[in-house]
């Protein structure tokens, strides 16, 4: 009966109730989005780093991966040492550089020299993967952006050059490259045209100085637990003085430090949306209680206990919050997708990085928080309604 009465009371002013539910839905959506934002970047970055299961990044001493143009000399020996370690199951060396494209619509592309069988930088979306070097022509996997901006298609053969002298218009080394595949590159910004070539090809194009160099190596630790990863990282730090090994956890911590203002912003906006939801429910339920002083006094007069009135008004607040939360869930997911699409277009961000990541646990926690907030918001007006002096309210109603 109390549920019927609460529902009927809300239906009494449908427009007002609908507007309140919409308001709560907006607050719930904002809260959900902020929770998704604050936890999403971490989740997304972790997923990004672990895309291919490599938990360790080995970079030149004192640098972060691809944070500078520094490379590691003696790469072959380092990779061999890592591969020989029983703790490590796979190692993927990478040499990054920029090559000129003399006959293309784009002057240059970011190039990754990789070992195809262990590479962890892209996933093939179309065509065929890198093939072993065969004669003068080598195969390449390129990004969608590369194809769109260069105007080339899979199967085209293009010219890639290193050491191009812009004034003399001559290159130190050139190779014909056939575009055999299109891939999605995990760590390269969306807007950057990127091309993957076999590591020996890139080394030979960059010249003798790069014959034994790499920019980075990724290592997969056999036992994936954090203690084993840390042990492997410590072993590399001890045995390889020319490199810095960074675990996924460390990388995440560093990124979190850099993006901490995002989390703070999300926290503040989330708290504001919670406050808005609270105030909306309090205002509407207070308004409703004030309008129904006579009715509530009559309910008390005919035998409804204070607890019954309290329950009744709390139920109204809870129903408002509940309806708003259901609406907010849908609205939040839609706006998260929309905002994610906008933010993902920011220059310099890896293509696979998401700002908003759906996490059921975080979502339910935030929505439960809003539900608790809605319940608490109804508490004050509910208490006022339950404490209404019956005789005085009836007297005032009779006069009014």
């Amino acid at each position: 009966m109390r549920f019927t009465l609460a529902f009927a009371t809300l239906r009494r002013h449908p427009v007002r109730t609908l507007l309140a539910i919409l308001g709560i839905a907006v607050a719930a959506a904002l809260l959900l989005d902020m929770v998704m934002l604050s936890t999403g970047m971490r989740t997304s970055f972790r997923a990004l780093l672990l895309t291919r299961g490599y938990q360790l990044r080995v970079a030149p001493k004192g640098t972060l991966p691809f944070d500078s143009e520094a490379t590691i000399d003696g790469a072959t020996a380092i990779v061999a040492a890592l591969r020989a370690s029983p703790q490590i199951s796979a190692v993927s060396p990478t040499l990054g550089t920029t090559l000129s494209l003399p006959e293309s619509a784009i002057p240059s592309a970011f190039v990754l020299g990789l070992e195809p069988d262990v590479q962890g930088d892209y996933t093939l979306e179309a065509g065929t993967d890198l093939a072993p070097v065969d004669g003068d022509v080598v195969s390449a996997v390129v990004s969608r952006t590369f194809l769109e901006r260069s105007g080339h298609a899979l199967g085209d053969t293009i010219l890639a050059a290193a050491g191009l002298d812009a004034q003399l218009r001559s290159a130190a080394r050139e190779r014909k490259v056939v575009l055999t595949g299109m891939g999605r590159f995990f760590y390269v910004p969306n807007e950057t045209p990127v091309m993957a070539l076999a590591l020996p090809t890139v080394r030979s194009m960059l010249g003798p100085g790069f014959r034994d160099r790499m920019s980075l190596a990724m290592a997969e630790v056999r036992q994936g637990d954090s203690a084993s990863v840390e042990a492997a990282r410590a072993w590399i730090a001890e045995t390889q003085p020319r490199v810095t090994a960074i675990s996924t956890e460390t990388a995440i911590r560093q990124v979190e430090e850099r993006l901490s203002y995002f989390r703070q912003l999300a926290f503040v906006l989330g708290a504001i949306s919670l406050g808005i939801g609270f105030l909306l429910v309090t205002t509407l339920v207070t308004l409703s209680v004030n309008e129904r002083r006579g009715e509530i006094a009559v309910l008390r007069a005919i035998g409804t206990q204070r607890g019954g009135v309290l329950q009744q008004v709390l139920l109204e607040g809870l129903m408002l919050s509940g309806a708003g939360i259901v609406g907010g869930l849908g609205l939040g997911l839609i706006t998260a997708r929309w905002l994610n699409a906008i933010l993902s277009d920011f220059p310099g961000l890896p293509a696979s990085f998401d700002f908003f990541v759906w996490s059921p646990e975080a979502a339910w926690q935030s929505l439960a928080l809003l539900l608790v907030s809605g319940t608490l918001a109804g508490l004050l007006p509910a208490w006022r309604a339950a404490s209404l002096p019956i005789a005085r309210a009836l007297r005032e109603e009779a006069i009014g």
Binding site: R300, G303, T304, A391, L394
Partner: protein, 238 residues
């Protein structure tokens, strides 16, 4: 709860005073009323506006307590009851009818009648049957699904009476029950009160209209918070 002192009267007021603050002033609404109403009586409390009629009715209905003096309903001193006990007492012993009906506008006639039964924890099926029976008694058996806005004033007041009777109270109290009704509808409502009285109910209603008061068997006239006269009456029309 054992607040009974074994008085056979349904209502016994002993030197009842009720004052309450209003702004900076103190209103002395009831100034020492002695009154006894026996089981089965049909009484009207009348008097000019501000003479303390409604305040006295609130005291008789246990929604208010006297500043001094005692109000005993069925032998129970209402001032000794906790809020929970007083609410439970009202639920089971008192039926209220208000001038403005105060039906829950979002509930049907039957649901309105069911409200006190639901509060008393009566099973849903029994509630429905009882609501139907009471609506039939007040002449609205075919209007059970109608909402208050779909009923006339007289019909709404009949639903309010059915609601007041739901838990078979010892005492039925009505505050200006015909105040919002036209003369004919008011008369038919007083006739219903007469029927209730004949069926054994103890009825007390408040009215400022001395003509309406003539429907009761006993007319208690108040003036300045005191009983000015208390006369037996040959009821008209009821």
């Amino acid at each position: 709860m054992d607040n009974t002192i074994g008085d056979p009267a349904v209502i016994l007021c002993d030197q009842v005073v009720r004052s309450y603050p209003m702004g900076d002033a103190v209103v002395h609404a009831v100034r020492g009323i002695d009154l006894t109403i026996a089981r089965g009586e049909f009484a009207a409390i009348t008097g000019p506006s501000g003479c303390g009629k409604s305040t006295l009715l609130h005291l008789l209905g246990a929604v208010d307590v006297p500043s001094t003096g005692r109000v005993l309903i069925n032998g129970c001193d209402i001032a000794t009851l906790s809020d929970r006990e007083a609410t439970n007492f009202r639920l089971r012993q008192i039926g209220f009818v208000f001038q403005r009906f105060y039906l829950m506008p979002t509930l049907s006639a039957a649901e309105n009648v069911e409200l006190p039964l639901a509060e008393a924890g009566v099973d849903k099926k029994i509630r429905r049957a009882r609501a139907q029976e009471l609506l039939g008694y007040v002449g609205l058996g075919d209007r059970r699904g109608h909402r208050p806005t779909q009923l006339s004033g007289g019909e709404q007041q009949r639903v309010a009476i059915a609601r007041a009777l739901a838990n078979e109270p010892a005492l039925l109290l009505a505050d200006e029950p015909t105040g919002e009704l036209d003369a004919d509808t008011g008369a038919s409502l007083l006739a219903l009160f007469g029927q209730l009285h004949r069926d054994g109910a103890t009825l007390v209603f408040v009215t400022h209209d001395s003509v309406v008061a003539q429907a009761a068997h006993r007319v208690i006239r108040l003036r300045d918070g005191r009983v000015a006269s208390d006369t037996l009456n040959a009821p008209s029309g009821a």
